[in-house]
């Protein structure tokens, strides 16, 4: 499979995994292993360096890239503070910007996200901003120095798939950075669909964490992502609206 390049790093696997909502932290290493994922996101507010047992980082294999997210930030300033704290706490320089000031639908604030991205990119962070799919906002994020853009497929936790498909498609077509579909992906087929469209990667959390068997589901998502990417690379045959008639009505014109 072709590699994905973000922030100077080449990634073999195009599935990113989230660590929230699991019934037990102990299952997380097995989930990551079966998914093959190498980029793992976690809320910095859950990180507890004082307790080995409770600290979420302890459950993430050392060969993975940590992607701390700024969950809890209500504006750009808070997101920037969390990102700096994450780096100071030893979580590396990748950060997923999440600025959410709406606790009802958990929809991101694109404007504040752009502001935070600009500040953090200048400080040397590899910034992956979570956003509502919007072409103009995505262009601003490119200018602000983002390493990728992460539009939502549907609101967080809904497992509804690519409800924002057309907007994401436009972003994939128009934005030169990798587009990583984040939030809303509920089934491996949704992940495959995003990858078939040309998404660079997908980030999945709820659908795996709340599955009956998260380890099995992680593997299923991994396969879905791979299938979707291969299909994209393999290039689909042309779609036709009408069947190709074996006895064409206009054949006489060629006689």
């Amino acid at each position: 499979m072709d590699k994905l390049k973000i922030g100077g790093v080449e990634l073999q696997n195009r599935l990113f995994i989230g660590t929230g909502k699991f019934p037990n932290k102990k299952i997380i290493p097995d989930v990551i292993k079966s998914s093959g994922s190498k980029v793992i996101t976690m809320a910095l507010r859950r990180v507890d360096l004082n307790s080995k047992e409770e600290n979420i980082i302890e459950y993430i294999p050392k060969d993975c890239i940590l992607l701390p997210n700024t969950s809890g930030a209500r504006n750009a300033e808070e997101a920037v503070r969390i990102a700096r704290l994450a780096r100071a706490m030893g979580c590396g320089n990748w950060v997923k910007i999440e600025v959410i000031s709406d606790n009802k639908y958990l929809l991101p604030d694109n404007y504040e996200t752009i502001k935070a991205t600009e500040i953090l990119a200048k400080e040397g962070f590899v910034v992956l901003p979570y956003m509502s799919p919007d072409l103009m906002a995505a262009k601003s994020l490119v200018d602000a120095g983002a390493a990728a853009v992460m539009p939502l497929g549907a609101p967080i936790g809904t497992n509804r798939g690519l409800q924002t498909k057309e907007l994401i498609r436009i972003m994939i077509d128009e934005i030169d950075l990798p587009t990583i579909v984040d939030a809303g992906i509920g089934k491996p087929s949704h992940a495959a669909e995003a990858m078939e469209m040309g998404a660079a990667a997908v980030l999945v959390n709820t659908a795996i964490a709340t599955a009956g068997d998260p380890v099995k589901m992680a593997q299923a998502f991994s396969l879905g992502v791979k299938a979707g990417r291969l299909a994209y690379l393999g290039k689909f045959g042309p779609e036709r609206k009408y069947a190709e008639a074996s006895s064409p009505l206009t054949g006489f014109l060629n006689e």
């Binding site: 699991f22 809890g72 704290l85 606790n103 809904t158 964490a209």
Partner: protein, 367 residues
């Protein structure tokens, strides 16, 4: 605009008549909806909906997992003082109750904080009775500064403050406010709050909103179930939570469902709230407000608490003492109310894990 206007809108509402007219079709229609409005919420609180408690539970379970995963956030309360100038007929700290009064010194607060933090908990709720003389805002702020060294999240459950006072405690390190209206029924409120500043119904009712305006992170509200018909009280609690959530979307709102517990100087004029009723309230609340946190205290016994975990609870207290200084056993004061689930934090942690849920010790940090 205050929640009081919404309360007034429903004050004269004929609940009895509404409940009488609820049919099976109504309940099923509500259960099949994705988003429900306030009339639907009341339908789920109706006596008729009790016949659909399992269907409600299945729906509530799914909605909760979708929004919160299989996780339970743990916290513990620490009582700083039981001095109180109010005469509330249902409370053990009532000014006329002849109990030993105590206020922790900053040294004692630090000892309590140390004892609690050694259990691994990172979220704490600090409580006092209402006495601006014994426990002024300056004392609360000093206490916050002490416990801040040991905890990542500090909530307060104290007397209602002004917006500026909330700003000050937030600046000192508070991220959450718990304040119960106790009873939304204004007439009963006046009757059970016999003497003291707590008699001011509106000042208390608007306290959560003042904290939201002061940019607090979390607000936890509730009514003390048993002071009036629980169906109405649960309805007003839900409406209040929705009002705050709609108006202050950047604040995380949660509700508690405390039932009156026995205590020193108990009064007997209560509306009983059985386990079935408590479950119905919890389920209706979750279906009405999918993103709202639901807090369950150790007022309830361990068996019931364990059984309520998959139904929609998101936060639980653990290792609780309702005595002043109770975590270091230096207190020996009477408790505010009797706790029912007396398990240690590690026992509760194990119980949550055995239910297939993840106990969360830390979900916040100051930044």
């Amino acid at each position: 605009m205050s929640f009081y206007e919404i309360y007034c809108k429903y004050k004269g509402f004929n609940f009895k008549n509404f409940f009488k007219n609820v049919t099976k079709t109504d309940v099923l229609r509500v259960l099949n909806k994705e988003r429900i409005h306030e009339g639907d919420f009341l339908t789920l609180l109706s006596p008729f909906a009790q016949g659909f408690i399992e269907e409600m539970a299945q729906k509530s379970h799914k909605v909760t997992i979708k929004n919160f995963g299989k996780t339970i956030l743990l916290y513990t309360p620490v009582y700083l003082s039981n001095y109180c100038v109010n005469k509330c007929s249902y409370c053990g700290f009532n000014i006329e109750n002849k109990i030993k009064r105590k206020k922790l010194t900053l040294k004692e607060i630090e000892d309590e904080a140390k004892a609690i933090s050694s259990t691994g908990l990172r979220h704490i709720l600090i409580l006092t009775g209402e006495s601006r003389k014994e426990t002024p805002v300056s004392y609360i702020i000093d206490a916050i500064k002490v416990v801040k060294k040991y905890f990542d999240s500090i909530s307060i459950e104290i007397y209602p403050l002004t917006k500026d006072e909330y700003k000050k405690v937030i600046e000192a390190g508070v991220d959450g406010l718990t304040i119960y209206q106790e009873v939304y029924n204004e007439e009963i409120y006046d009757r059970v709050h016999i003497l003291g500043p707590k008699k001011d119904y509106k000042f208390r009712l608007d306290a959560p909103e003042r904290a939201c305006k002061a940019k607090i992170r979390n607000v936890n509200i509730g009514s003390l179930l048993g002071l009036d018909d629980w169906k109405k009280e649960a309805f007003f609690t839900g409406l209040h939570a929705k009002y705050l959530q709609d108006k202050y979307p950047d604040v995380e709102i949660s509700v508690s469902l405390p039932r009156i517990r026995p205590h020193v100087g108990m009064f007997n004029d209560i509306y009983p709230v059985g386990d079935r009723a408590l479950v119905q309230i919890l389920l209706a609340m979750r279906i009405f407000l999918p993103r709202v946190g639901i807090t369950l205290s150790t007022r309830e016994n361990k068996k019931l608490r364990d059984n309520l975990i998959p139904l929609g609870v998101t936060k639980m207290s653990a290792g609780v003492s309702t005595e002043v200084g109770g975590h270091t056993s230096k207190g020996n004061t009477e408790s505010q109310f009797e706790i029912s689930d007396t398990r240690s934090i590690s026992e509760i942690k194990e119980a949550i894990l055995s239910k297939g849920y993840q106990p969360i010790f830390k979900n916040w940090m100051e930044f």
